[in-house]
Amino acid sequence: MSIDTEVTIEAPERPDTEAPPKIRPAPHRDFIEKVAGTLRYADDWGFPGMLHGVVVRAQLPSARIVSIDTSAASAVRGVRAVMTAADIPHNGILDEASGLGVDAIVQPVLAADRVRYDGEPVALVAAETPGAAAEAASLVEIEYEDLAGVFDPEEALRDDAPAVHAGGNRYVTWRSSIGDVDAAMQSADLVVEETYRSQRVDHAYLEPEAGIGWIDSDGVLTLRISTQVIEHAREIAEILELPHSRVRVIAAYMGGGFGGKEDMTVEPFIALLVWKTRRPVRMVWTRQESLLARYKRHPFLMHYRTGVTDDGTIVAQDVRIIGDAGAYPLLSSRVLFAAGVNSTGPYRTANARVESTAVFTNSVPTSAMRGFGAMQVVFAYESQMDRIAESLGLDPAEVRERNFVRQGDPRVTGETIDTGVGVGDCMRRALSELGPPTPPDPARPHTRIGRGFGCSMQPYGRSVFFADRASAWIGLEKDGTMVIRAGVTDLGAGQAASLANIAGEVLGITVDRTSVHIGDSALTPLTGGTFATRQLYMSGNAVLKVARGLRAKLEPVAAALLECDAAELRFDENRVWAGRRSITIGELSRAAEHQSVMPYHHDTFDAETGKFDPETGRGRSFPDCTHGAHAVEVEVDTATGEVRILKYVAVHDIGRAINMQRVEGQIQGAVAQGVGYALSEEVEVSGGVVQSTLFADYLIPTSVDLPDIKAIGLELHPGKGPFGARGVGEPPIGPPPAALAS
């Protein structure tokens, strides 16, 4: 573990905020393929001679595996492989997830002698038909010895609780503090103390987990997967004890991810079956399997004490959070880190203490999901603000105004907020956009109209101690079309399209003359996965840097051709201009190559880095945050408790929009998920067994459950993304529960 007690911050690469992009509305090719129905998702590929893979899952939440008998399964006609833990070269998933060396527990690919959650993978089958694979899977006989389990995180922390892993159920505790909380709390005029709970939810992307694998040329094990992270290729190589260079992961365009395809899904299982059978193997999880055993969002127990003066000024915050990690570490340490350091919300206080703990239980594991620990806490800190206002008889907006953080304020980690904060503008705009109250409907006497709002801050980019980086390559063809290569994966939010927009802005090349090759661990420069709202910040800045580098190489060539100074050049509409004279990009590309100035460029963007000391809880946490506020009007049926949303406004300071329409789409989609989280979604677990394994039970919002969502992206304070953009993928999911609750 690296411990540096001093906070050291390397000079960041500052984004250039001087060149605002013009919006180029031309649709990127992937969206054309999507509406045409011709886009090939992970499950839309096949090979001659392809086998079908199935995972055999444990049917108890806590047990010892006494024996596994695969003979009946192997005897099924058409079965080509039945595998158990004993068949895996290295039965462990190597992902040092915290970045700080706190991960000592290795998750097995297949349970060997111990089952820790219901639905845990135990065996694999590959067969000539899906039917044969399913039949064989049902015939794998597993003898268990039932063991006591623990299903409640508070019980799990007791000394006598059954241990999920040797070494106790407390996986990690993060602590940070600033000022003197106890003294400040004693001096407060009012202390508001409350405990909040949030439930387990599922990503519920419409495309279930899927992929296909084969052995390609030169013996490279190749996997085409619905995944957010192609860099998992290395973990798969370690499992098979192959050189990293012998495994290639290609990311198909995803039918949604939301963090649920950030950890590996089908890919290690497909890899094992391909390697064993030397045949192509396809695997698709059923919806029911996904709901049963795919990693969920952490349920949180959040204990808040907030001390305020009579005028509503916060003088102290004391926050304790317990997150249910389920049976394995996965990304829980990072999720609870994000929860802790963001738990005080967009409010300043000189005295704060936060503690966040991830606890093992024998429940389905929890890991990344849109909002990543920093969204559960929004409900808690905003509820505290409403209680403070209510207790003091003050206007809730006024109490917030009094406490909003500003640029230059310290955070609980001791670091300073180094970009502008627009949360107050967002709140005022959201409240004014809500307009006059809807009058009660006399035909519905049991109903009341209510209004609420909530504010939030949410980081974008990875924790700075990961020293994040992203690479990209851009080249010009002889006809002037552009090729971009970047290892980005595309969740459907337009990640590839944004890269075309950014490079096109610098090089004057339109989207229809651009091809973006993404997500191939063998052929595209690696960018890191699409998560943590980092791709615009990381790959966006990488592509911007590469595009500018390429332009700098080509400008002397263009200036000579156009007989002008390089400073006079303008790249626009697939031409380079000097006043009213111009050449095409194709002419420039050919002339450059003729002069041995190669019309391509590769470079790497390094994110801000910094140190965080887990012992003292001080240092740098995240590169930056996106702020916002949501306001809502609802009709509540006082007889049935039914809530109908009449109006919804969501406002975020996004710094600069690369494409405002996609920004609005991200906000609207996140609001929908946040509303589902608040009103209808819950993965119900009883005795460690997930009960809601049907889409008929797990209720995501339909079109009639939501009103039109008015999404507003304000371009107030430049962030750290390209052209001053701020990430917007995750931030809007936090406020809906808070707004609805208030």
Binding site: T38, L206, S703
Partner: protein, 161 residues
Amino acid sequence: MSKREISLQVNGHPVEAVVEPNMSLLELLRTEAGAPEVKLGCGEGVCGTCTVLLDGEPVSSCLVFAVQAEGHEVTTVRGLAGDGEELHPLQRSFLEHAGSQCGFCTPGMLLTAKWYLDGHPTAGREELRAALAGNLCRCTGYTKILDAVEAYRDLEVVHVD
């Protein structure tokens, strides 16, 4: 179980196949009929992702047996655009209004919207909202989908006038 020989029309083209009696129409379309644009979302008839038009009426193809489609006409999203057209105007409207993000619900959503507007060419926004309730989307929050459907409706109304 003995296999059955069936024939049907998919987007105007004849398809003949020999199928198990328990094969779903969805599986037939994806595996034998060259129509992977029909997507599997839940397999329990809830999400609407696998919607196709069966003789012009929307059905969840995961809940229909392939043998039930014998002699019938199936339309998938690729059957919307006319000959020589890359996209139907409704598809173009989805593109223009960003009614599609990950795109997985889009084929089913387009078919339901097209079917409803064919029968209710002047439907208002709230009617359209209700008409799409059986097609889940996890990305858009539905607002831009409704924008796209309304813009297409207005296009068609003007066209009729």
